[in-house]
Assembly symmetry: C2
Homo-oligomer: 174 residues x 2
Amino acid sequence: MMLTPTMQRCVLHWGEMASRWGVSRSVAQIHALLFLSPEPLTAEDIAATLALARSNVSVSLKELQSWDLVHVTHVLGDRRDYFHARKDIWEVLTTIMDGRKKRELDPTVHLLRDCVNEAKRDADTPEPVKERIASMLEFLEELSTWYEQVRGIPRPTLIKLMRMGARVAKVAGN
Amino acid sequence: MMLTPTMQRCVLHWGEMASRWGVSRSVAQIHALLFLSPEPLTAEDIAATLALARSNVSVSLKELQSWDLVHVTHVLGDRRDYFHARKDIWEVLTTIMDGRKKRELDPTVHLLRDCVNEAKRDADTPEPVKERIASMLEFLEELSTWYEQVRGIPRPTLIKLMRMGARVAKVAGN
DNA sequence: CTGTCAGTTCAGGTATTTCTGAAAGTACGA
DNA sequence: TCGTACTTTCAGAAATACCTGAACTGACAG
């Protein structure tokens, strides 16, 4: 798979962005490449195209699979793994958000719940701090259930809602 | 400022989370501390409480100020800077999102626009790849304008909408 | 002026993450 | 059972991000 200059720019930029979001550059570049590629690619292909070590590609692909962003397919009479990425951008986004929610939001809510309980039998923590922690918890819990709800709305409806922009506000009754 | 064990847990966890989101640990810890603290703190205070180098605190505070999450105040007859963080969680969230949009989403849209234009006079890039880039651009542009719109909805309305959860879907007319 | 206090800058050390290459593992066909 | 083709593992190298300490600046009081 040869990269045209345009494709290169995309892949490189994707890598840059990823590192600002706590994702390793290779993982992101591989994801970008698979996202763009019309055909599934082998690990070897990817390593050659992006000039990465074969082993790095292997590990990064596992990571992407654990995020459910990349899948394996096979070709008859070929025992190599062929990798392809989800192509639907909506799905890519929701998949990433689901993952981050599970790995970051949920544990944080958990911890805050602990802290709030702990704070009850804790005379040292000043009252305003306790309140702040509690309000943080409440906020994240609301955010979390809101996300679950919205996540369940069928896509076409969601797109309609999105296109409505600020006009959705009218259902709030004012 | 002495940290109670509960406060410590919060601050440390905030630091962990941050590093998964591409924010340095000290920056996040300082932010957490200021967010919890009922009173504004001096840089010296912060350094002592979190056991960080004074210079690190100085730089991190600048960073937090550049994100508009932390502000300086002064006390009469005291030339030290007192720092305090936005306490309103909604505002904290929107401020962070505004920042990330400006620093990451907008430049990405820009780049993709370039790529799409470039692709027009580029015979090498395969057609399906061009389409994929274009659809990515379109998606991010939609996301971006949607965000702008929703950002403009007054907070009480937004909260109502949020509490409605999936029921907002009914305005989409089905 | 001079000394002190607060804040900033930055070169360089430290820690962490990321990546690599060699070696080991696995599956399959002959 | 061996050879081949492919994949995975992992110790340590390389790159990067992060933090520190020392030196500097500037503002003020005496």
